[in-house]
C-alpha cells in the first residue's frame, strides 16, 4: 500500500509567519510521530500520537509549536511566528502501534525561514 506522505515537500517562509505541515500516515497505523532534523544533526523528537490518547508533547521546543491529528489519521504540525532557527527538515513517521513496531517515515518537509 501507499507509504507515509508529507506536504509540502519544501516550504520557504518569512520570519514571523505561521506555517502548517501535513502528514498522511499509512492507512491503519495508529501511532504517528513528528521529528525534526536540523542541518548536520540527528533526528529530534517533537510529538507523538497514539490512537485516541492524549499526545506526548514532551519534545516540542516551544509553545510556538503545536500539532493535531484529526480522525486518527492526518496530522498537521503548526509553527507560529517562525524563527530562523526553525529551519530544518520535518519528518513524520507512523507505526501500527506505539510499542515496539517499526516506524515508517515520510519524505519530509524542508522548511526554510528567511
Amino acid at each position: 500500500g501507499a507509504g507515509v506522505s508529507q506536504s509540502p515537500s519544501n516550504k520557504v517562509t518569512e520570519k514571523g509567519k505561521d506555517v502548517e505541515l501535513r502528514c498522511d500516515p499509512i492507512s491503519g497505523h495508529t501511532a504517528l510521530y513528528w521529528y525534526r532534523q536540523s542541518l548536520g544533526q540527528g533526528l529530534e523528537f517533537l510529538i507523538y500520537f497514539q490512537g485516541n490518547s492524549a499526545p506526548d508533547k514532551s519534545g516540542l521546543p516551544s509553545d510556538r509549536f503545536s500539532a493535531e491529528r484529526t480522525g486518527g489519521s492526518v496530522s498537521t504540525l503548526t509553527i507560529q511566528r517562525t524563527q530562523q532557527e526553525d529551519s530544518a527538515v520535518y519528518l513524520c513517521a507512523s507505526s501500527l502501534l506505539a510499542g515496539m513496531d517499526t516506524q515508517y517515515f515520510g519524505p519530509g518537509t524542508r522548511l526554510t525561514v528567511l
Binding site: 521529528y35 540527528g42 523528537f45 497514539q50 519528518l91 517515515f105
Partner: protein, 113 residues
C-alpha cells in the same frame, strides 16, 4: 535518558568491499529494540534492519547484518559487497516501549567505484 552514539561521522568503502558502522547506546532497560535507518539524499528514511534486545541471534537482511553485543551496549552494522546505492547517511536508533525513537547523529557513508 537513553543516548545513542555514532562515533564515526564519515566512512568510505570501496565498491564490493565490506564496511562496519559503529553504534553504542546507554540504557538501564533490558527489553528494547534497536534499528538502523538509511537516509539517501532524497531524505526518505528507510529501515535497514532491526534487532530485538531479547534475541541473542544477530539480525540479518541480505547484505546487511548486525553485531549486537548487549552487555557492551554495542550495535554495529556490517554492509557486505558494498554497492554505489548504499551511499547515504546511516542512523542508529533505540526504542523502548511507547516512547519515540532516540537517534544517533549519523554516519555518512561514501562508496567509491
Amino acid at each position: 535518558a537513553q543516548t545513542v552514539t555514532q562515533s564515526q561521522p564519515e566512512m568510505s568503502v570501496q565498491e564490493a568491499e565490506t564496511v562496519t558502522l559503529s553504534c553504542t547506546y546507554d540504557t538501564s532497560e533490558s527489553d528494547y529494540y534497536l534499528f538502523w535507518y538509511k537516509q539517501p539524499p532524497s531524505r526518505q528514511m528507510i529501515l535497514v534492519i532491526r534487532q530485538e534486545a531479547y534475541k541473542q541471534q544477530n539480525a540479518t537482511e541480505n547484505r546487511f547484518s548486525v553485531n549486537f553485543q548487549k552487555a557492551a551496549k554495542s550495535f554495529s552494522l556490517k554492509i557486505s559487497d558494498s554497492q554505489l546505492g548504499d551511499a547515504a547517511m546511516y542512523f542508529c536508533a533505540y526504542k523502548k516501549g511507547n516512547t519515540p525513537l532516540v537517534f544517533g547523529k549519523g554516519t555518512r557513508l561514501s562508496v567509491i567505484a
